[in-house]
Amino acid sequence: MSAIHSAPQTGRSSVLPKRPLRVVKPGRRPPPRVPFVIVVSVVLVVGVVGLLVFNTSMQQASYTAKSLAQERDSLLIKEESLRVELEQLQRPQSIAEQAQSLGMVPKIDPTFLELPSGKIIGKLEPAVPADQQRILPLPEPKPAEIVPERRVETVIAEEPESKPNRRKKRERQGQNSRAGR
């Protein structure tokens, strides 16, 4: 093998100008692999862990968002029910009822006090109980007689009779009642 390879070398050396042989500088040593592997692993691990953490936190955030949304909903519902309650209290009807329960009466004829002159426009008269405005409907009219008049008929009890007599009597009564109708 070595013989075959060495032959062209000698041939070339015969063609090319001859150079003096010198020591070839040792080639650059391949960089150590360990740091590279470490760097790559670290990048990988950091990436994977980061992604995992990110994902987890996103999931966590979504749960938090859901529970916060629920909290918001329940607060909204609370607000709404309070608002409905407020509306009930603000109703003109309930205000009027409360005012009346305090003995207040609306005044029909308005009177004005002009400032700063202190002049009174309109007649200065206090409201009277007769001015009271009825704010509740009249109770449903009841029928004139809830319990109908009792009809009393007095029947005189007769003395017990013998059988045939009683039968005759009953027949007569039947005729009578039919005639009555």
Binding site: S81, Q90, P92, Q93, E114, G122, Q133, R134
Partner: protein, 590 residues
């Protein structure tokens, strides 16, 4: 030894091919399995699998649009929508305890026990409505209780609930909404505008129904309904309704109406109808009471009509307030005799006196110079015989005779309010023309503008004005109307608001009975007027149908007018004008 090596070498040379063949075969088998599966998934039944996948992980929810509120002029809510919930059951889970659950739900949510029981046990179903439009707070409470009782399979979904905070306040105008649709009033007429459009959201969910972050999410947001702002004043409306109820009840009447107009703008500040209903409980009311009688019911206006006749006559130069008239005890005109409401001999009344004493005969005599056609022209300009288009459905146009029906006899009766019919809002707007210096303003109920479901634009922006009579004629008519409230010479001192100049006119009209189609002896009493007379701010019209206490316009409707007018003047801080009231002579001496 060498031969063995060769044989082995040859064998070794053949082996890769075999291995490759076997390898390819395995690959082909695997691939064909994949291919077959692919064909099955994509070719045979692709939708089923896509659906299954979607069902597994995606949610599609309806985002309900909130119905727009109906407000009064100050922003108080006449109708509002509050968030509510619908209670949903999954019969697959509720079946085991259906009976107990149905009892619990029937008690707590006021639903039908048997219907609920059927729904809780519905075979093969996974979704059943149990109750809709439940106030959210109640729904949450019920669900918590159900969890406490270990009832499974109930969930809540968003819904919306319509409430009417004022109950009966303006109920006849606002109307109401049923479970699925609007039934009456503004709710019905502006349904599209108020309802808005529901939206949809679909997204992917993980376990426990939490949305997957970065998962696909599509939303078509709900378009909430628009707010409808009316010209009504809730407090004044409330007070008018209470005064009206008391008035009708005390008079033993069938029904009644009070219309309060802003004299300058024609805006309806209040429009009370009685009997009315609680808009939150419309089913408890009589069907006939659900509409707005003030725009749907027509009747003969009676003597209030004399205001329009007098204004027309003065405008046309036929009479003045001082025109002297000799009024006989009765007047025979072609087909019948015209009488006054009170028996009298020959009276010497001025035109103002004819108004103050409400004499039919005097009015007919004063109007003799005017042709029926001319009179009809004036009345039509006053807005009679034409819908007011305030935005309520079921409105009537009233009846103004025309063509062959418009004879001179008809005209004689029209001048004092017979042989023609009106709605209360129409009549209020007509009288308001005099208050507004002779300019008719079409009444409005909606602030700004709004489009009804029929595509008609209504509202204050579309209010029309037109001059009907001259300012001078309007002023003279007003002065004549002031005499109606005179304690000595007028017929309606009860309508006075002390300290103020008030102009008004009573009306006591015979009613046409439904059965006989003739005057049946019952009456419609009314009072129309405005104040302050020399600078009118409010025009108020009170009508009571069929009072059984024998009262007339002055005694029944007058005091109600005074109450509402006094309230309106105080509420809007209108001080008395402190000018000298009308002193027009009522009588004259031969």
């Amino acid at each position: 030894m060498r031969q063995i090596w060769i044989a082995l070498g040859e064998g070794a040379r053949g082996a890769p091919q075999l291995r490759m063949r076997i390898g390819f075969l395995v690959i082909a088998i695997v691939l064909s399995v994949f291919g077959g599966r692919l064909l099955q998934l994509q070719g045979v039944d692709p939708n089923k699998y896509a659906l299954m996948a979607a069902k597994e992980s995606s949610r599609r929810i309806v985002l309900p649009a909130t119905r727009g509120s109906i407000l009064d002029r100050n922003g108080s809510e006449l109708a509002s929508s509050v968030p509510a919930s619908m209670v949903i059951a999954d019969p697959a889970l509720t079946r085991p305890k259906a009976a107990k659950m149905a009892r619990f739900l029937a008690l707590r949510l006021d639903v039908d026990y048997f219907a609920t029981l059927d729904r809780l046990r519905a075979p093969g179903r996974r979704f059943e409505y149990i109750a809709r439009r439940v106030p959210s707070s109640l729904a949450e409470e019920v669900l918590e209780e159900a969890e406490g009782k270990k009832f499974k399979g109930l969930t809540l979904l968003d819904d919306s609930l319509r409430t009417y905070p004022g109950h009966d306040i303006a109920a006849n105008l606002v109307g109401f909404v049923g479970t699925e649709k609007a039934w009456a009033g503004l709710e019905f007429n502006f349904d599209e505008m108020l309802a808005g459009r529901d939206g949809v959201a679909s997204y992917h969910v993980g376990k426990e129904g939490a949305q997957i972050p970065l998962g696909s999410l599509t939303i078509r947001p709900a378009q909430n309904g628009e707010t409808l702002r009316t010209t009504l004043d809730m407090d004044l409306q409330f007070y008018s309704q209470r005064v009206l109820r008391e008035t009708v009840e005390n008079a033993g009447g069938d029904s009644g109406t009070i219309v309060v107009l802003d004299s300058r703008t024609g805006e309806l500040l209040a429009n009370a109808d009685y009997p009315t209903f609680d808009a939150n409980e419309p089913l408890e009311a009589d069907n006939a009471d659900l509409g707005a009688r003030s725009v749907s019911d027509v009747y003969e206006p009676g003597s209030v009509q004399k205001v329009l006749t007098a204004a027309a006559l003065v405008d046309d130069g036929r009479v003045t307030a001082n025109t002297k008239l000799v009024v006989p005890g009765s007047l025979t005109r072609q087909d019948r005799v015209i009488n006054d409401w009170f028996p009298h001999g020959t009276l010497y009344l001025t035109m103002a006196g004819v108004m103050a004493q409400s004499s039919n005969i005097g009015t007919v005599l004063a109007a003799d110079g005017m042709s029926s056609r001319e009179l009809r022209g004036y009345l039509s300009e006053f807005g009679l015989g034409e819908e007011t288009r305030i935005g309520l459905s079921g409105e009537s146009a009233g009846l103004l005779p025309q063509g062959d029906n418009l004879t001179s006899q008809t005209k004689d009766r029209m001048v004092f309010g017979q042989s023609l019919s009106v709605t209360a809002v129409q009549m209020a707007a007509a009288v308001n023309t005099v208050a507004n210096g002779g300019v008719y303003v079409s009444p409005s109920l909606i602030q700004g503008r709004a489009t009804t479901d029929d595509g008609v634009e209504v509202g204050t922006d579309h209010a029309v004005t037109r001059r009907v009579v001259s300012e001078k004629a309007a002023r003279q008519t007003t002065l004549m109307m002031e005499r109606v409230l005179d304690p000595e010479d007028g017929v309606a001192p009860g309508a006075a608001v002390s300290g103020y100049r008030v102009a008004g006119k009573t009306g006591t009209a015979q009613r046409v009975g439904e059965e006989c189609g003739c005057y049946d002896g019952s009456t419609t009493v009314s009072f129309a007027g405005f104040a302050p007379a020399d600078d009118p701010r409010f025009t108020i019209y009170v009508v009571v149908h069929n009072p059984r206490n024998g009262g007339g316009g002055g005694s029944v409707a007058g005091p109600a007018f005074a109450k509402v007018m006094g309230y309106a003047l105080r509420r809007y801080r209108v001080p008395p004008t402190e000018t000298t009231p009308s002193q027009l002579p009522v009588w004259w001496n031969e």
